[in-house]
Symmetry: C2
Subunit: 226 residues, 2 copies
């Protein structure tokens, strides 16, 4: 099997991180299949961004899974009764969706097994959002172990790799990497409260991390602000 | 906190195993929340059975999650292009849905964390269906580890227990246990090809395991056959 025959399922949210992750997978000669989730998140514009990003990257297929997450509740991102704070306090953010990455990765694993894919890429980052338990390296290692045990391919001796190329990078390092790989960050939406046109609020934590990242990376910020 | 204040999310498929699992959780003084999935499985009657079973068990709430699994394909249970065989050959059955239990457990985990539940019960069994990788004790142990790392409660030092009371039992032992706990097996549907009235085909592997179980348990078989 030639190097170019490697395939990967890449989780694409529409944000800056996953767009960079997709570019990294492609740069590693993976043939990419993109997967996104529609889970009643407030920023539908984020999903539209995911569609633009996957299209620009010319993925083989982009699967958008309808997730029934709103019925579970418990997060400011899916539950309209909890307001999104402009600044997070210490500890675990209220924007934390219980077991969200576990659900995302479970779907990615299912598709990866059907495709016979070699890897799953997820753009989690343990530095900027260290409050999320399911962005930590120990969590990723546990999911890698689970993949090996959960799958037919695992029994047959081949493990689907769980790749997290951004996990140790700062926002500025992520932006520098993506910039070098030609990622068009004007397509991405990071804001939790973007308007229907995909314009960012410029005030929430996610916006502030992003602005600071562009500043530190010394890359012009192409974000559309309200 | 008194013993009766323990809460559990119990996965209920509508089959014999999960009905027994629910009865066991209740017998262990758990206040039960039932969760089922509608994932385009052929036997919709199985889902109707799940509703009857949860109602009879007087669970606090029964959440039915709409799963977008058919779009992934790869199994005779969700893909109409693959016929369900009457007899499975050796190895991993074609009725295997890639990562199905991982997806189910990820949702159960999300709800359990929102509820502040103490446990998740799943009626997996490693004996009768040993071909499924995600029914093995090693898989369950890996998911338990993942729960600890994926959750806010895990960080706070409390782990949601993943309980699999049926994992080592034979079908006959499961039926004897449920019979002792008063499970009404006439409410359950095990058949992969049950008709709209919930009547079983009596010929598929699932039906044959079930019939044999009642025979070996010396319990009258209340199944409605076509």
């Amino acid at each position: 099997m030639s190097d170019s025959a490697k395939t990967a399922v890449v989780l694409v949210s529409g944000g800056l991180d996953s767009a960079t992750c997709l570019a990294i997978a492609a740069a590693q000669n993976y043939t990419c299949y993109a997967m996104s989730f529609n889970y009643g998140q407030r920023a539908v514009s984020e999903l539209e961004a995911a569609i633009r990003i996957a299209k620009r990257a010319a993925v083989v297929e982009h699967k958008i899974i309808q997730l029934d997450m709103g019925v579970i509740g418990g997060s400011a991102l899916t539950d309209n009764a909890i307001a999104v704070p402009e600044h997070e306090s210490e500890g675990i953010p209220v924007t934390y969706v219980p077991a969200r990455n576990t659900i995302f990765l479970a779907y990615a694993l299912s598709w990866a097994e059907v495709l016979g894919a070699d890897a799953i890429f997820i753009g989690v980052n343990a530095r900027d959002y260290s409050g999320y338990p399911d962005c930590r390296p120990a969590y990723i290692a546990a999911f890698q172990k689970l993949i090996h045990l959960a799958t037919k391919t695992g029994i047959e001796g081949k493990t689907i790799l769980l790749e997290t190329p951004l996990i140790d990078l700062s926002k500025a390092e992520i932006i520098k990497t993506g910039n070098r790989l030609g990622v068009d960050y004007s397509l991405t939406v990071s804001c939790y409260q973007a308007n229907p046109k995909g314009e960012a609020c410029g005030r929430c934590d996610s916006c502030r991390f992003r602005m600071q990242g562009f500043r530190e990376a010394d890359v012009a910020d192409p974000t559309h602000y309200q």
